[in-house]
């Protein structure tokens, strides 16, 4: 569909917003794709909550080391300058506000920046939270990477989350396959609409009243 960008393009878009020198946690799942698109020539340090700074790319198959994994329990590499530490130190980095950016997935994000991403509350589902609640309240900037709509076509941007919360008022910005939204005291502001998305159409898709950064000189849009 012409109105959406691919997950890879979205990962590249997010990677482009991460500045030189930033310390970043990419969680598990889709956000880990962003690592593949970080610009060459910048020093961006990746934190993984199981206890490492300076995480490197996926190793060659014969270099897989079961003692060297990321939070998703996938094999990773080790860059020059890397450091290992135990879990309490790792979460002190997160909770203590030492990470510049984290990128999380979402089931829902509310207009006031509440995040729901750990449980659908469905009966019989096995709950698992991991480090999501610590990341949500800990990083200086909390970005969400998600499709705008569920497979059933419902908006993941909502007035109020109906799924169990991960954190309150914690989300800074939401990167979706249709547009990028900033969370502001007055609700979502469309920072950038991809392809032929318009603010009117995004309002229709989300059922929310949206502010337009383009008309207020606070951002730009791509045609």
């Amino acid at each position: 569909m012409a109105t959406r960008i691919s997950r890879e393009d979205l990962a590249a878009r997010i990677a482009g917003d991460i500045p030189d020198g930033a310390i970043v946690n990419l969680g598990i799942g889709a956000p880990t794709l962003i690592a593949d698109f970080l610009p060459d020539g910048l020093e961006i340090i990746l934190h993984t909550e199981n206890g490492m700074l300076g995480m490197g790319p996926k190793p060659a198959f014969d270099e897989i080391d079961p003692d060297l994994i990321n939070a998703g329990k996938q094999p990773v590499g080790e860059l020059a300058g890397a450091a290992f530490f135990h879990h309490a130190d790792s979460f002190a980095m997160m909770r203590g506000g030492h990470l510049d950016v984290c990128v999380l997935g979402a089931f829902q994000v509310s207009e006031s920046g509440d995040l729901a991403n750990w449980s659908t509350g469905a009966p019989g589902a096995i709950p698992a939270v991991g480090g999501a609640m610590d990341l949500a309240i800990g990083a200086k900037a909390v970005y969400v990477m998600t499709d705008l709509l569920t497979k059933q076509g419902e908006s993941k941007l909502v007035a109020r989350c109906t799924y169990p919360l991960t954190g309150i008022g914690c989300v800074t910005r939401v990167y979706t396959d249709h547009a990028v939204f900033d969370v502001t005291p007055d609700g979502f502001r469309v920072r950038e609409a991809f392809r032929d998305n318009t603010v009117d159409e995004l309002e229709e898709l989300t059922g929310l009243t949206l502010r337009d950064a383009a008309t207020s000189g606070e951002g730009h849009r791509h045609g």
Partner: protein
């Protein structure tokens, strides 16, 4: 003379009783003390409470312990994984109790137990289901949840090397919960690849000082390490590669 080394994993875990609370180190498979867990399974302890970040992977280690039916309750942050079928089945059948704790609160509650902290206020989880019923406080404009320590009767930990005083060094991300769990249990039992001579570990690089360690068992090097050097040749599960054709493996991996 202080000598914490034990001759076997079986001897090291022999006094873990039914009903004990046991911390087990490791994040996924990394750092899981497999030989100690196997010895605990052989001992046949029942009605255990287990503390680990996860709830077992595949059919080995912690998952094998759960499969014995000897675990009454598990305290963890992330039980649901692609290969957690043993736990999944027990949970759905109502045969195991789950206390879900956000990962950083789990780590800090363990650290607090080892550090003699009575309780602490954490911002993690405030306003969520996982903090329901817990005392809260606003401090300098931020909201916190009161969290209590988690301590254990025993901790089972995997490390790389120890000396006979119990000083430990770990390897890469297999460190994870080891240092904090070592401090939070009445009796801390550690399996290592190798026990080295006193003085062979540089005091500047000791990660867990021996004061936190009670028993040490050498179990030999894991398949991906030879003579202290990483040699690879295993899958992420630590299983040896039987097919040595890298080309075949690379093409499979990319498929």
């Amino acid at each position: 003379m202080i000598d914490k080394t034990m001759t076997s994993a079986e001897a090291a875990v022999a006094d873990i009783p039914d009903g004990a609370t046991v911390m087990i180190g490791g994040f996924g498979r990394a750092g899981q003390p497999i030989e100690l867990i196997d010895a605990l399974i052989a001992r046949g302890a029942s009605n255990l409470t287990i503390i680990n970040n996860n709830a077992g992977n595949g059919g080995t280690g912690l998952a094998a312990l759960l499969a014995t039916g000897g675990v009454r309750k598990i305290i963890c942050s992330f039980p649901r994984q692609s290969d957690s079928w043993v736990f999944d089945g027990l949970y759905r059948d109502g045969k195991i109790e789950l206390e879900l704790v956000p990962q950083g609160n789990l780590a800090e509650r363990i650290r607090a137990a080892g550090a003699g902290i009575g309780a602490f206020f954490s911002p993690t989880g405030y306003g969520t289901q996982l903090a329901s019923g817990k005392e809260t406080r606003s401090i300098e404009g931020r909201d916190y949840v009161l969290e209590y320590p988690i301590r254990a009767d025993f901790a089972l930990i995997g490390a790389l090397k120890a000396d006979r005083w119990g000083n430990l060094v770990y390897r890469k991300t297999a460190r994870n919960f080891g240092p904090i769990m070592a401090s939070a249990a009445t009796t801390t039992i550690v399996q290592v690849d190798e026990v080295v001579a006193l003085g062979a570990i540089d005091p500047e690089v000791v990660v867990t000082p021996g004061i936190f360690v009670d028993r040490v068992v050498a179990v030999g090097e894991r398949p991906w390490i030879e003579g202290g050097t990483f040699v690879g040749g295993v899958t992420i599960e630590g299983m040896p590669l039987f097919d040595t054709s890298r080309t075949a493996f690379s093409s499979t991996k990319e498929a």
